[in-house]
């Protein structure tokens, strides 16, 4: 009897301490479960409210539209709350718009919890969509995209969201990555031109290291934050990549193995920061902006407003005589199904209204200047290179007027970019897998063996 009592007390103690212990996330699944319970209740209440709104809708009340937008910078919330929502409310008084800004760190957690609790947002801004398609959660983009909007989205971006013959999402914005270099450092180190090949990269790094050992010559981020980008930078510019010409996964190609070995060579030679497995892109951007990093492959908006670095931009260095491939990143907007909505037509109309308003040339162009990203619509791509100065950047980017040259330069590069194969169902596993492979190689594993294992795991 006492043993039973002892065990009961023990279990109670563990239950109590695991639920309350240590940290906010120490027992994350339990926490999630608790959140799940709470959210279930909330969802039940929300469902009841929806029914109420349905009744109200019949009498002419507003259509609720819940939108989750990813946080792209410190001022994202300000633009949506201060510019977009009031403007949309004035243009579409029939829609009750709620915009929730969620940081990328929390985005996947928030969305997964909401879907688990049947409380998916109406519109979501995220980077992938294949898993939602697999669970039949998304509306086809054709259902809510007006002809005018479809006509102005750049075709390559429209097609990039196709899966099994259907387009499931709209591109929200794009970014291009290329080689940034510090002109003053390269000149002082005796490097006449920015490197165009991997051999030239190594040569330039050696010269910079000899010139000033306190300057880090090259940037590399193979952290779990964005290690998949490094995989893209090097494999694409070595004739490899995530997939082959037929679109099949080709993670263990010879070119990819060579690329991982090149990464290791750069780290072992001391040309990169000491810990590329934990140093994310952001402190490295800060280092470039402060003049203590000589060369970095980074996004078009990486130069901070207060940086006085004399920098230049060059194509990606390549290997084996391959042509340089610019690296593009594109996030998406997608609309979720909601079978409980009382008036599906009104809901779809509200979603269409949202997209039409967002991609309006003036509104969308303003957002692109504000965040420093590149437009994915043809009208804004033509408009911004001549009119960016009409709009202001966000406070974090200096709050100054946009620069026409910036958009003229980078919008021109968008057409030749390669993008992640993010519409594929296996992408999340591939993304984690290539990061893991890079880190294993830096820890001393054989690149060929690691990539063979990954290919086997992904493609079978």
């Amino acid at each position: 009897m006492k043993k039973i009592l002892a065990m009961t007390l023990a279990v109670s103690m563990v239950l109590g301490l695991t639920a309350c212990g240590g940290s906010g996330s120490s027992s994350s699944t339990e926490t999630t479960a608790a959140a799940t319970e709470a959210a279930t209740e909330a969802a039940t209440e929300a469902a009841a409210e929806t029914e109420t709104e349905a009744a109200a809708e019949a009498t002419g009340d507003k259509v609720p539209l819940n939108v989750i937008i990813s946080q792209y910078g410190n001022n994202t919330q300000e633009w949506w709350d201060g510019v977009f929502v009031p403007g949309f409310a004035e243009a579409h008084p029939e829609v009750d718009l709620t915009v929730e800004i969620v940081s990328w760190n929390d985005l996947y957690t928030v969305v997964a919890n909401r879907i688990t609790n049947n409380d998916a947002p109406d519109i979501l801004n995220i980077d992938t969509f294949a898993d939602y398609v697999a669970d039949d959660l998304l509306m086809p983009a054709e259902d809510y995209t007006s002809d005018e909007l479809k006509a102005k989205i750049i075709p390559s971006f429209w097609n990039a969201n196709e899966l099994d013959g259907t387009v499931w999402a709209l591109p929200i914005l794009a970014s291009v990555r290329s080689l940034f270099y510090n002109k003053d450092i390269l000149e002082a180190a005796g490097v006449e031109n920015p490197p165009t090949t991997w051999d030239e990269v190594k040569d330039a790094c050696a010269k910079i290291k000899a010139y000033n050992p306190d300057i880090t010559p090259w940037s590399l981020d193979v952290s779990s934050d964005e290690g998949q980008a490094a995989f893209g930078y090097y494999t694409w510019n070595n004739g490899g990549g995530f997939v082959d010409e037929s679109g099949n996964w080709a993670l263990n190609s010879d070119a990819n193995v060579e690329s991982l070995n090149f990464i290791k060579e750069m780290v072992d030679a001391g040309y990169c920061f000491a810990d590329p497995m934990n140093a994310t892109r952001y402190p490295q951007q800060d280092a470039f902006n402060a003049g203590s990093l000589a060369m970095m492959i980074g996004p078009c908006n990486m130069i901070s407003a207060d940086s006085d670095v004399n920098y230049g931009v060059a194509p990606m260095p390549t290997n084996g005589g391959n042509s340089p491939v610019a690296f593009g990143v594109c996030d998406r907007l997608m609309a979720f199904k909601d079978d409980s909505a009382p008036d599906q037509d009104a809901r779809t109309a509200a979603i269409s209204a949202f997209f039409d308003y967002f991609y309006d040339q003036e509104v969308y162009s303003e957002y692109m200047v504000y965040e420093g990203f590149l437009p994915v619509t043809s009208d804004s791509s033509e408009y911004l290179p001549e009119n960016a100065e009409k709009f202001n950047k966000c406070e974090a980017n200096g709050g100054t007027p946009g620069e026409n040259d910036y958009f003229a330069t980078w919008c021109g590069m968008l057409a030749d970019c390669d993008f992640y194969p993010a519409s594929r169902a296996e992408w999340i596993d591939v993304k984690q897998g290539v990061i893991d492979a890079e880190q294993q190689v830096l820890e001393g594993a054989d690149a060929k063996e690691v990539l063979d294992a990954l290919q086997e795991d992904i493609a079978g």
Binding site: L15, T18, G22, Y108, V111, Q432, E443
Partner: protein, 295 residues
């Protein structure tokens, strides 16, 4: 007769509010985790039905899980063991009379009173090879001329994480032990002094036996806290490089919210729960046995 019956149920009446609270706020969510661990959950979070032990089979077949389990045991034993030893020594020192004793006691509390996230971020900035303050200070003092990489591999990272865990856990042990030391009657030591007992004899024959309840409580609580600790490892490495510095708490978080494998994450959570139940069960049985012996 009636009075006797009431006496029998009286303790349970007093326990009832706690039991209700635990059932609604703790047992139900934990039951949900058990349910999720035997469910097929899609990557987007949709629960698709019962999947039996598939999630458990998947995690047991993964080498990463076993490495993580090994890490978790090392992490728990090292952090709890070292913090208990160091905390005990510090408590013995703080129990002596010396100038500024109150100030020193307040300083010892600092690591415990500060958020684990903040402490982890601070330590991360201290040890970072390229931007870290440790290298900057050593360079300014002329001790080193080039930055030293304090975290050249996964093992080094894990060792630093263990040290940070020890550092933040010491105050709790210190104050548990200190409270016990202050409750020990001086007459025991005076009698031992008269009998000519040495420092070690007094330590083993008086101090440690009388501190046993305090040490037991602090050790068991620490095992549970440290086993489940998340912020230090997540802030410093997120389990990298190549998932070699995970403990179960960070591993299940990554499985759930980075890899989108909620079912497997729930299964890992259940495994951790069972291990903790086993540890706490041993503690409870030993405690009850000790009480019985004392009676």
């Amino acid at each position: 007769m009636k009075k006797s019956a009431f006496k029998k149920i009286e303790p349970y009446i007093w326990m009832l509010p706690s039991i209700i609270l635990m059932v609604t706020m703790i047992a139900v969510p934990v039951f949900t985790v058990f349910k999720l661990s035997v469910s097929d959950i899609s990557r987007s979070g949709v629960v698709k039905g019962f999947s039996g032990l598939e999630n458990f089979q998947s995690i047991f077949a993964s080498a990463k899980f076993w490495h993580t389990l090994q890490n978790t045991l090392v992490w728990t034993v090292v952090v709890v063991g070292m913090s208990t030893l160091l905390g005990f020594i510090i408590a013995m020192v703080l129990n002596q009379n010396f100038a500024c004793r109150k100030i020193v006691r307040a300083i010892v509390v600092f690591p415990w009173a500060t958020s684990l996230i903040i402490q982890s971020i601070v330590w991360k900035y201290i040890i970072t090879a390229d931007f870290g303050s440790l290298n900057v200070i050593l360079k300014k003092l002329g001790i080193i001329s080039r930055n030293i990489n304090w975290t050249p591999n996964a093992a080094a990272y894990f060792a630093w994480e263990c040290w940070i865990g020890i550092f933040v856990t010491i105050p709790f042990v210190t104050f548990c032990v200190l409270s016990g030391l202050q409750s020990i009657d001086d007459t025991y030591y005076e009698a031992a002094d008269i009998d000519g007992a040495s420092f070690w004899q007094k330590l083993y024959r008086i101090t440690l036996p009388l501190l046993r309840p305090n040490l037991t409580v602090s050790t068991v609580l620490n095992i549970i806290y440290v086993f489940n600790s998340f912020p230090i490892i997540w802030t410093i490495t997120k389990g990298d490089p190549a998932d070699k510095t995970h403990t179960l708490a960070t591993y299940l978080y990554k499985l759930a919210f980075t890899n989108g494998r909620m079912g497997q994450a729930a299964a890992v959570s259940v495994v951790g729960f069972v291990i903790l139940c086993f540890c706490a069960g041993i503690y409870m049985i030993l405690s009850l046995r000790a009480e019985k012996e004392e009676q």
